[in-house]
């Protein structure tokens, strides 16, 4: 499975496409949540038998959750592409070395 330089760059480029797409929609949830009209609630009925929690605002939790997911996925993709790039650099270096020694 020979990885030439151009192929390696393509892989990294593709990974960055995925990453950039995920990053681009960090704004998405914020916009969507902002556009949501506040739901009139006269009474908060919690699930199960837990006591009624204080009315902490839902929006920061909601936005926070989406940022965590998208951010986490983005950073993982970034980490993957970085690791892949580093290994592929080493592969190219060693292949060059091998060629130089005439063993191909």
């Amino acid at each position: 499975m020979l990885l030439s330089m151009s192929k390696g760059l393509t892989v990294v480029r593709r990974a960055l496409v995925v990453g950039a797409a995920l990053l681009a929609l960090a704004g998405g949830p914020a916009l969507a949540a902002g556009n949501q009209p506040p739901e009139p609630q006269d009474e908060f009925r919690p699930v199960g038998n837990s006591p009624a929690p204080e009315q902490i605002p839902a929006a920061p939790l909601l936005i926070g959750a989406y940022i965590v997911v998208l951010g986490g996925l983005f950073f993982y993709v970034l980490s993957l592409s970085r690791r892949l790039g580093a290994v592929q650099q080493d592969v190219q270096r060693l292949e060059g070395e091998l060629k130089r020694r005439g063993r191909g």
Binding site: A21, A24, L25, P29, Q41, I56, A58, L61, A65, V77
Partner: protein, 218 residues
């Protein structure tokens, strides 16, 4: 990378861009209001968190039976995804729970076994990193126990008294909530496949690198 990778990556990215719009359009829930919409990312993350150790366990079993490096690479990749999606699930869940249940965490069967499953994923990665030679087979053994934990996580919520919603919620979702949910599930599934592919690529490259080092030493 295979030919389908770039189109699939673009599709996946687009789906993630579109998903907040779909989610915003979904109705609020009667008891939980707006905060329940964390569910649209929490549940697909959780399903991927359950899928990954199954893939890891299956690949590990294949590796132990047939001793093929490809199976080992797949198990390693799946273990990393277990930790990744586990982290996402275990963070988004409490964020939702804080509002819906009034507490960040409860030690019920579902959450406890999920935490355990996540830790088994970490144990696998630590073993691969620090176990020295032969740790691929050892980790495969551990992965089997991690895989056995998964059905327990899934059904636990139906058999133990717990505050976590049971598995009957999904089949009974109205269409207005079902559409964005399954859309997100498909997006996450596609992402899972893409991430596995990238990770397998990395692992194959590492194997190539090792072979080159050996060749140079000769």
């Amino acid at each position: 990378m295979p030919k389908w990778f770039t189109p699939a990556a673009i599709l996946c990215g687009l789906m993630f861009v579109v998903s907040p719009v779909l989610i915003a359009r979904a109705p609020d829930e009667s008891a939980m209001g707006m905060v329940y919409k964390i569910y649209y990312y929490h549940m697909p993350s959780a399903w991927m968190f359950l899928l990954a150790p199954l893939v890891c366990g299956f690949s590990s079993a294949m590796f132990l039976a047939r001793d093929r490096a490809k199976d080992d690479r797949r198990a390693f990749a799946a273990a990393e995804l277990t930790v990744l999606f586990g982290a996402l699930t275990l963070i988004t869940g409490p964020l939702w729970a804080r509002r819906a249940w009034g507490t960040w965490w409860v030690w019920d069967a579902r959450l406890t076994s999920s935490l355990v499953g996540w830790m088994i994923g970490w144990a696998y990665l630590i073993l691969r990193r620090y176990g020295g030679p032969g740790s691929d087979k050892l980790a495969a053994g551990v992965a089997l126990f991690g895989a056995v934990n998964v059905p327990f996580i899934y059904i636990s919520v139906n058999y133990w008294r717990t505050i976590h919603p049971p598995t009957t919620v999904v089949p009974r979702l109205p269409v207005s909530m079902g559409v964005p949910l399954w859309f997100c599930v498909f997006a996450f599934l596609l992402l899972f496949v893409l991430l596995m592919t990238m990770r397998l690529r990395l692992e194959a490259a590492r194997t190539r690198l090792d072979a080159l080092y050996v060749a140079l030493d000769e």
